[in-house]
Amino acid sequence: ADLTVFVAASMGDVLGEAADVWEDKTGQHVTIAPAGSSVLARQIAAGAPADIFVSASPEWMDWLDQKGMIAPDTRRDLAANALVLIGHGSGEAGDMPTDIAALLPDDTRLAMALVDAVPAGIYGKAALAHLGQWDALAPRVAQTDNVRSALALVALGEAPLGIVYATDAASDDRVHVVAQFPEDSHPPITYPAAITADALNADAARAFLEWLASAEGQALFARYGFVPVTE
Amino acid sequence: MTLSVNIKRRLGDFALDVSFDAPDGVTVLFGRSGSGKTSVVNVVAGLLRPDEGRIALHDRVLFDAGAGVDVPVHKRRLGYVFQEARLFPHMSVRDNLLYGRKASGLKGQGDLRRVAQMLGIEGLLDRRPARLSGGEAQRVAIGRALLSEPEILLMDEPLAALDAPRKAEILPYLERLRAESGCPIIYVSHNLAEVARLATHLVVLEDGKVLKDGAVSDLLSDPSMVRVFGVRDAGSVLTAQVVDHADDGVTELKVSGGTLWLPTVPAEVGSHLRVRILAQEVLIAADRPVGLSALNVLPVTVLSMKRGDGPGVIVQLKAGDDTLLARVTRRSADALGLHEGGTCFAVLKSVAVAPADVGGGLQSG
């Protein structure tokens, strides 16, 4: 039978290509259903016909795990990402500014995903706090419902600066990376995947996950800008 | 079948409090604008709920506040010609006409063709109401009510918007209906020619109350009602029998007080008719006149004389068993030496009893 993969929207395209490759390889059809991690998690809790869940943050995977909706011992990180400060237009990457607020002209804002709700925002807030800049920047943040909207604000020039994933920054040439946040400034940005407890096709799911974690799979993630994970 | 109405209802400052019986045939509601005619009709139809009282058609109770009976409008089996046409704008004239038949589960088109012809709307059957003239719409509304074959027919000034020739075409149909259907017809009208011709029973409303009700012939020849009907329209209604149709186009009629000659009346010899004689069309002569273009002279006795507001005198005359009203000036009354109990002659031009006033035979009342 077909495999259905519920995947965090930001990973939709990588997994879309992976599914095509996998089908060519094995004849196994894989359906990719992208949406927000919170939505997907709740749907799986409500009995959604997903075989695999790929989350954009560990929290929702934990949440499902606590509910017993994850097949034991199937959870693994598929990829990692880096967090970057971006600016409108072109420019050179450099060191992380020590006073980002000073780089924001009056009456302009720093675009981020929701800082208490959406993973990219949560990581960004943690990183800024780690750098001791959060208090100064908090009143200057424009929060968006997802990280792509934050990217759009910077791309359009509505916000001069923003915080997004490295994968996002690479995708839009209207923005440039100002600096990458140090890896230790925020919790590791990983994309955990697992087979659901109700998976109809657990064996095929397991094989697909294995392949995604293999060198071939990881090379694909790398091509989309993700950081491969090595276990 | 008699319709008994006995109800009360408040409408703002206006209080309706009426009680009357409408026997078979046509009961006319008469009264000034705002006297409550439409309200009474709406109460009978079930569109206006009385505060108290009872309405019954023979033994079928339509409304009884005490017993908690209130038959819904669509089960009252009535036909209602509203004061405004109220046609269904989205249906053709034909569908408007047949609506009641379909709604009451009647088969076929009934009298559609005959009714349409009588109303002069055969050519309009496929038209929408928005494209009708005022009078055409009103005629369709009449047809719509007639074709539903109701047990009570309610007509609120149905002919007010129509011209005289059209009225003259519709009235005989209504007369036939009255004669054939045996259903009570409640008919609102300001037009005394219509009243005299159609009504068997008359209910005069004033300010929400019944001022007087009774048989048309009694009320119209009641001198005290002249105030209500107006001097110009006061008159009496007599029952006459057709005796003969003469060659020169004159019909001989017998009334209790003598013989009348009228321009040919389309009725069989032996049949009974109603004729209306307006007070102002009656002349009084001391002696039987000669050399006058009036064929009808009846010997009469003066019953009473009543002075009106103006210079006129309403003279009530007895002609056989019937009562005639005549209106003359005081000057004439004096010149002729009229006095109660005196005898004289009532002169009426034969043509003064116009065809439009010759109604079908009286069934009752």
Binding site: T4, F6, A9, S10, G12, D13, T31, I32, A33, P34, A35, V39, L40, R42, Q43, A46, G47, A48, P49, N146, R148, T167, D168, A170, S171, D172 | A45, G46, L47, P72, V73, H74, K75, R76, R77, L78, G79, Y80, F82, E84, R86, F88, P89, H90, Y99, G100, A103, S104, R127, R128, P129, A130, R131, R144, A145, S148, L154
Partner: protein, 231 residues
């Protein structure tokens, strides 16, 4: 438009199917509700009135969650539906139709209600005097006279159903070929780098579809109005 891919075209077809059935199936209930609100004299009329508006007031995502909680396989209604009739709504296109119908319901009801309130009760009275029962009066007089309002309501509902996103993706997820409607597909394209063009194309397609429906309905409404006025 080859770059749209098969999945996008599936989304277009699915959106049409979903919007059509959402509109058609909710119409009778919409008419009844509108009639009850316009003419009814029952306790709870105000409550019903408010209830109908709720999907308009709540963020669509919330409506979607409530649907998931109620009609999901684990939900009280969804469970019964499955046990008794073997019907599943969640994660099916039928569920998408349900979500769209609920979101569109307030628009439909209000349009029809306004039309009913504009019908002259004197015409209904006239029909009653001709022997028509309340039901017959409704079917033969009220209904034809409110046809323009029904058409207007249906168009609003259809347009809304084509555009509905939040409740749909939350209730039935975003499974290509099964529950991925045009807006879900647009969302998926917008979440990944470089998807803007495809998204834009889909936006244009959905506007074209809905405008086609609007033009059709206007033409229908004119014909109906024409028939009513007889002009």
């Amino acid at each position: 438009m080859d770059y749209l891919g098969q999945e996008a075209w599936q989304a277009v077809a699915l959106s049409l199917k979903v919007a059509f059935w959402a509109t058609v199936l909710s119409l009778p209930l919409g008419i009844v509700t509108a009639y009850a609100l316009a003419r009814g004299r029952f306790v709870g009329r105000q409550i019903l009135n408010g209830l109908v508006l709720v999907p308009l007031i709540m963020p669509p995502v919330v409506t979607g969650y409530l649907l998931l909680l109620t009609f999901g396989r684990q939900g009280p209604v969804g469970g019964l539906l499955y046990d008794w009739f073997g019907v599943t709504l969640a994660f099916r296109w039928t569920g998408a139709a349900l979500a769209a119908a609920i979101m569109a319901f307030p628009l439909m009801v209000r349009a029809i209600r306004l039309a009913i309130e504009a019908v002259d009760p004197k015409l209904e009275d006239a029909a009653a005097t001709l022997g028509a029962s309340r039901l017959r009066v409704f079917c033969t007089v009220t209904l034809p006279l409110i046809a323009p309002g029904i058409i207007a309501g249906a168009v609003m509902a259809f347009a809304k159903a084509v555009g509905e996103f939040g409740a749909t993706i939350t209730f039935v997820s975003n499974i290509p070929g099964q529950t991925q409607t045009i807006p879900s597909a647009i969302y998926a394209f917008l979440q990944v780098p470089g998807g803007e063009n495809a998204a834009l194309t889909l936006v244009v397609i959905s506007i074209t579809l809905a405008l086609g429906a609007v033009a059709l309905s206007e033409w229908l409404a004119r014909r109906v109005a024409h028939r009513i006025s007889g002009k």
